[in-house]
């Protein structure tokens, strides 16, 4: 039996802070790798620790608590996701909870706007980086619960006659398509949030979670782009920006380089697929999920002159942040067309078919396959 009242307030705060960090990281880690979560669920919800908010002028604790609340939603469906049997109705309910929570958070949390003033101090930058992670956790949760619907929806669009899902009630009433739109919107917002943080120059050289989230968003967007031949300009922008950030992170991370190479190859495959099909699509609005964290800073003055020096020439730990290089900010049009990548790849042959099958395997109904993919690198 736990002697509750013998624990001093300071110890209580320390214990809860430790458990909150452990639970949050475990759930994110487990959901990314398709593994079971090891930390037990709380027995009586989320407690309110009074002292914490008194020393939280930038809303860091609020962002941390928000992240934990979102993680609890992931924890609820992690078993179903790993077993590949998440029901559409459950996904819808979780989506409603998450989007409702996102709207509430946006209203209550005035710090979800990264201003130039906020980014001028190390404390402010730390708070913004925390909010970037909270935002990405939110989009990650939405992607997790809606991704099976996206796969089913896109698969139906590829071969409507052969797909048994095409005649299911969720497709007839449009709920699956709605969820797949949320999935794409979430991936766009996730990639754009990371890119905005990147252009603001607040990313470190090694962002261990961001690179996986960017890859996750890139795969969702790439898969959607590969099916919708007309293309969504915002999805393509987000895909391109995700690759830019991964390219920079790949300077210090072999895994980020692996992700960048895969997204580059996927892009080439999409372009080839589009040229072959030349179908017309339909532009979509991006309104089903709102943007959580806004970057209201414009272009930093230093970026136009010597941005390449940000990542390589700063010496103090406080300045060791990763930002865009001059080429990253002003990419050539060729980069997105993929003409300079993997010139030896033959898209009209069996090699392309194998690659397409491989890529489609990254976005399975069963999240465990994603874990297997990670293990293979």
């Amino acid at each position: 039996m736990i002697l509750l009242l013998s624990i001093a307030d300071a110890d209580q705060e320390s214990r809860w802070r430790t458990f909150r960090s452990l639970s949050t990281f475990d759930i994110i880690h487990a959901s990314l790798l398709g593994r079971p979560c090891m930390t037990p669920a709380t027995t009586a919800g989320t407690p309110q620790i009074q002292n914490e908010h008194a020393t939280d002028p930038l809303g860091t604790i609020t962002a941390t608590i928000a992240t934990l609340e979102i993680c609890h939603t992931i924890q609820d469906v992690l078993g179903s996701l790993n077993n590949g049997n998440l029901l559409i109705s459950v996904a819808q309910r979780k989506c409603e909870i998450l989007t409702g929570y996102g709207k509430t958070l946006k209203q209550k949390q005035p710090h979800l706007r990264a201003t130039q003033h906020l980014l001028s101090t190390s404390t402010g930058r730390a708070g913004v980086v925390g909010n970037v992670h909270a935002s990405c956790t939110y989009y990650h949760a939405l992607i997790l619960v809606t991704r099976p619907s996206l796969i089913a929806s896109l698969t139906t669009r590829i071969s409507p006659r052969e797909s048994p899902a095409a005649s299911s009630s969720s497709f007839v009433d449009g709920s699956a398509n709605n969820l797949s739109e949320i999935c794409i919107d979430s991936a766009i917002h996730m990639a754009q949030t990371c890119y905005d943080a990147f252009t603001a120059g607040i990313l470190l050289a090694n962002m261990c979670l961001l690179k996986v989230w960017l890859f996750e968003a890139g795969l969702v967007l790439g898969f959607a782009m590969s099916v919708d031949a007309s293309g969504h300009s915002d999805a393509e922008d987000a895909y391109r920006n995700a690759r830019k950030v991964l390219k920079t992170l790949s300077r210090t991370s072999s895994l980020a380089k692996e992700y960048y190479d895969i997204l580059s190859s996927l892009l080439q495959a999409i372009n080839m697929h589009r040229r072959q099909k030349a179908k017309q699509g339909h532009p979509q609005s991006r309104q089903s999920v709102g943007r959580l964290l806004e970057f209201d800073i414009g272009r930093l003055p230093s970026q136009s002159s010597s941005v390449a020096g940000v990542a390589t020439q700063l010496s103090s730990p406080d300045d060791a942040r990763y930002g865009p290089s001059a080429n990253d900010l002003h990419p050539t049009g060729d980069e997105f067309d993929g003409v300079d990548m993997n010139v030896g790849f033959d898209y009209g042959s069996e090699e392309w078919l194998q690659f397409a099958n491989q890529v489609s395997g990254f976005l399975p109904m069963n999240n465990d396959s994603l874990g297997l993919f990670f293990d293979s690198i």
């Binding site: 736990i2 509750l4 009242l5 013998s6 624990i7 307030d9 110890d11 209580q12 320390s14 214990r15 809860w16 802070r17 430790t18 458990f19 960090s21 452990l22 639970s23 990281f25 475990d26 880690h29 790798l33 593994r35 090891m38 930390t39 037990p40 669920a41 709380t42 027995t43 009586a44 919800g45 989320t46 407690p47 309110q48 620790i49 009074q50 020393t55 470190l204 050289a205 090694n206 962002m207 261990c208 979670l209 210090t252 991370s253 072999s254 895994l255 390589t312 700063l314 010496s315 730990p317 060791a320 990670f374 293990d375 690198i377």
Partner: protein, 128 residues
């Protein structure tokens, strides 16, 4: 996981030479610095600092500490997990977070009834 005041306290003790060598706080401080170096990664010295700091902390974590779970030990293993994720060592990260989770269960950190804040008078009354 740590407050800035806690880390500043560790740094101050370390600067004075009074942070006990081989203690969990010294291990935590070394791994915090290792994660910082790993994240900065501006030069090859950062790799060396990260590796040596992590190895120091890991040796302490596994030296008889596992049999005495504590909040500090959980935080130490969570730091090691974070370092391993940054080093693209997913299996090692899973093992470390497994140890931290089991220690948290053992100590009952998930029993959130304990965190309900009672007014001081009420808490004193109940404790009597």
């Amino acid at each position: 996981m740590f407050t800035r005041a806690e880390v500043d306290g560790y740094l101050e003790l370390d600067a004075r030479g009074t942070l006990p060598i081989g203690s969990i706080p010294s291990a935590a401080l070394n791994i915090i610095i290792a994660i910082g170096s790993q994240s900065r990664m501006l030069a090859t010295t950062d790799i060396e600092i990260a590796a040596s700091g992590f190895n120091y902390g890991r040796n302490i974590a596994f030296r008889e500490q596992l049999e005495n779970p504590s909040v500090d030990l959980i935080r130490l293993f969570l730091l090691m997990t974070f370092y391993m994720v940054g080093a693209c060592r997913r299996h090692a990260a899973s093992m470390y977070i497994g140890v931290a989770s089991m220690a948290a269960s053992t100590l009952g950190l998930h029993a959130t009834e304990q965190y309900s804040s009672l007014p001081p008078e009420e808490a004193l009354l109940r404790s009597q």
